[in-house]
């Protein structure tokens, strides 16, 4: 087993990895930029080394420096976390070339899955469904292929970008006319009349399957996660298992993910992402060759520690679990707590954390890497922490999460906490009616509800914190009662 692991990351995931290292008796080495010098991941680690860089994010992306620090600090392994260098094949290679263990798949696998076209072809070759598409210059042949794909069909200029010239065709009768118009438009706008068509998926769901593979040829899947709730193309609420998912679809997805991992001789933790259509058809999107942000929901329902599995696999040990022994227990939902303003198009917010009170209660897990006094700056991602609730049923998990979100006090910077609470209490969420357009579809219903009595109490609480007001209200004799500079 490894003895000392450098974590090439920061924030909640660095802290998350350190908790497992500590439990396994493995020392940890933290790295940090000057701006993060008082961050919890620095304090938690056995040793911490400052990285030199002008721009904070550049520090965590400096491969040469990270490998050098790992060697000098006596680490025998490097965990990349997620984001930053976690899917960088060159970094995995440099770590291995330095004689250290990279805690993730090998560079060749990262490279294969990191290439959109190669990974899609690889998936198709190994019987993993990919979204049918066709590109052709010959209108007659194109129409025949398009009919095979079926409806609704999305057609667009092959050379085009964005939404220009994009149209949805819902029946064979509409096809010929739309093709002719689209081709003419494509020629006019892009000087290239070729048309591209693919299956149009209405209200798609985003479902992914967690897999683990070891050096001994064992591959297991850890079931699926539903990740359909997204804003700005980023997930904010994830859960396992996926609600309202027919058993045969779940089985087919998991089998496809295992097939892909086996074909790639996948070694370590990885995630196969699929898009799911309402009719149960699903298509490969990509494979993430790292630990996912949302891995805790899988850990909750399976009672597993994914980081521990990653470390074991990296150390050459066989998987600790067999597929038959893996059983989903209950339901877990995670939400990402971000410094942002949902009422203003989720724009990222900054500030300084002044209050941090964590929720308690059965089945509640808070994965954070923040502290009171910490500045939230635009230098890093806006995600501050993850709140996860596990329950025996989905309804119980959702109720526990709603309560935990209400009990979480994180002040000093605007956050999406209240918005997340409204999401997990929304009737359509509770009914499991999820798709990637959910948050946009229910945008109005997800706005805060007016509560005049509570707003008045909040106003009074704020006024009483103002010394000038407090003095006028309680201390100053009548004739002099005035509110200093605070009048109107």
């Amino acid at each position: 087993m490894l003895k000392r692991v450098l974590i090439a990351n920061r924030g909640e995931i660095a802290c998350r990895i350190m908790r497992t290292l500590e439990r396994m008796g493995i020392e940890s080495v933290a790295v940090y930029h000057h701006e993060d010098r008082a961050a919890p991941h620095v304090r938690m680690a056995t040793a911490a080394v400052q990285l030199q860089a002008e721009v904070p994010t550049a520090a965590y992306l400096d491969q040469g420096q990270l490998v050098e620090v790992a060697r000098r600090s006596g680490a025998d392994g490097v965990h990349p976390g997620y984001g930053f260098l976690s899917e960088n094949a060159a970094f995995a290679e440099r770590v291995a070339d330095a004689g250290l263990t990279f805690i993730g798949p090998d560079a060749a696998t990262i490279r294969l899955m990191g290439d959109k076209i190669r990974s899609r072809d690889f998936a198709a070759e190994h019987g993993v469904p990919v979204a049918p598409s066709v590109i052709a210059e010959d209108a007659a042949r194109f129409a025949a292929r398009a009919l095979e794909i079926g409806f609704p069909l999305l057609i667009k200029a092959a050379a085009g970008g964005g939404g220009k010239g994009m149209r949805i065709v819902r029946s064979a009768a509409e096809l010929a006319g739309n093709l002719a118009t689209a081709a003419a438009e494509a020629q006019r706008y892009f000087g290239d009349g070729r048309i591209y068509a693919e299956r149009y998926i209405e209200q798609p769901r985003h479902i992914e399957v967690q897999v683990l593979g070891d050096r001994h040829g064992n591959v297991v899947h850890l079931f699926e996660r539903e990740c359909s709730l997204q804003r700005r193309y980023q997930k904010i609420v994830e859960e396992s298992p996926a609600p309202n998912l027919p058993e045969q679809v779940r089985a087919a997805m998991c089998a496809a993910a295992v097939r892909l991992a086996r074909a790639a001789r996948y070694c370590n933790a990885g995630t196969v992402e699929f898009v799911l259509a309402a009719d149960g058809a699903f298509y490969f999107l990509e494979m993430n060759t790292r630990l996912q942000v949302e891995h805790p929901v899988t850990e909750c329902v399976l009672g597993l520690d994914l980081v521990a599995e990653q470390l074991r696999i990296a150390a050459g040990e066989p998987l600790s679990v067999r597929q038959e022994a893996l059983q989903v227990r209950g339901h877990a939902i995670e939400c990402r707590v971000c410094a942002e303003e949902p009422e203003h198009d989720f724009r990222p917010a900054t500030g300084r954390i002044g209050v941090l009170q964590l929720p308690q209660g059965p089945g509640v897990r808070f994965d954070g890497g923040i502290r009171v006094g910490q500045a939230v700056t635009p230098a890093f991602d806006s995600m501050l922490a993850k709140l996860v609730a596990h329950g025996s049923t989905r309804a119980e998990a959702a109720a526990r999460l709603a309560t935990a979100l209400a009990d979480l006090a994180l002040l000093g910077v605007p956050t999406n906490i209240d918005y997340l609470r409204r999401v997990v209490m929304h009737p359509q969420f509770l009914a499991g009616q999820l798709h990637t357009g959910f948050l946009a579809q229910h945008a109005v219903a997800l706005r805060p509800v007016e509560s005049p009595a509570e707003a008045a109490a909040a106003a009074v609480a704020a006024l009483l914190a103002e010394p000038a007001f407090h003095q006028v209200a309680f201390a100053v004799p009548e004739p002099y009662a005035t509110i200093g500079p605070w009048n109107n």
Binding site: A406, S451, A458, A462, A465, P479, Y480, T482, P485, N487
Partner: protein, 166 residues
């Protein structure tokens, strides 16, 4: 007098209607009575209209965040005098409620500093001194002692200062 605040971006007025025996406030169109208030660090408890509220408050930029019953309210205290309904070239103070003028402390042409008393008014048996919210020159005092005024009446106007945005 009324104080302007914003709760979650919404403008509202707060007015002290009585200070004894209990603090009575008008917030927007509703009257509220504060029965008790206690604070320990950033945590507070208050009893408003017989309902007990416990929560946390914390500065967030120029605002104050108040977390109450699992919900965060953002309260902004409007400190600078706003020239609502400004006349050409002037800033002015208008009455936010009807009352009577007790005393006049300033006169036309007088330079005043922030916090200087301008008028003492009495409304609803509550006397208050209107002070200058910023340094400036008084253009005109529109009322005299004993004068009775209605809500919205023009009380004092200021000469406009160069570079003053508001």
């Amino acid at each position: 007098m009324a104080y302007r605040i914003q709760v979650d971006g919404r403008d509202t007025e707060v007015e002290i209607r009585a200070r004894r025996p209990l603090l009575r406030l008008r917030i927007g169109d509703a009257e509220h009575t504060l029965q008790a208030a206690e604070a320990c660090g950033q945590q507070f408890t208050l009893v408003l209209d017989g309902v007990s509220h416990r929560g946390w408050r914390c500065a967030s930029g120029d605002d104050l965040q108040v977390r109450l019953n699992g919900r965060t309210y953002t309260v902004h205290l409007v400190r600078r005098q706003r020239a609502a309904g400004t006349n050409e070239g002037q800033e002015e103070i208008r009455a936010s409620m009807p009352g009577v003028v007790v005393a006049v402390h300033a006169s036309a042409g007088q330079a005043v500093n922030t916090g200087d008393g301008l008028l003492t008014l009495e409304s609803m048996k509550l006397q208050m001194t209107i002070v200058a919210s910023h340094a400036g020159v008084v253009a005109q005092v529109h009322v005299v002692p004993e004068a009775v005024f209605e809500r919205g009446a023009l009380l004092v106007s200021f000469a406009r200062q160069e570079g003053s945005a508001e």
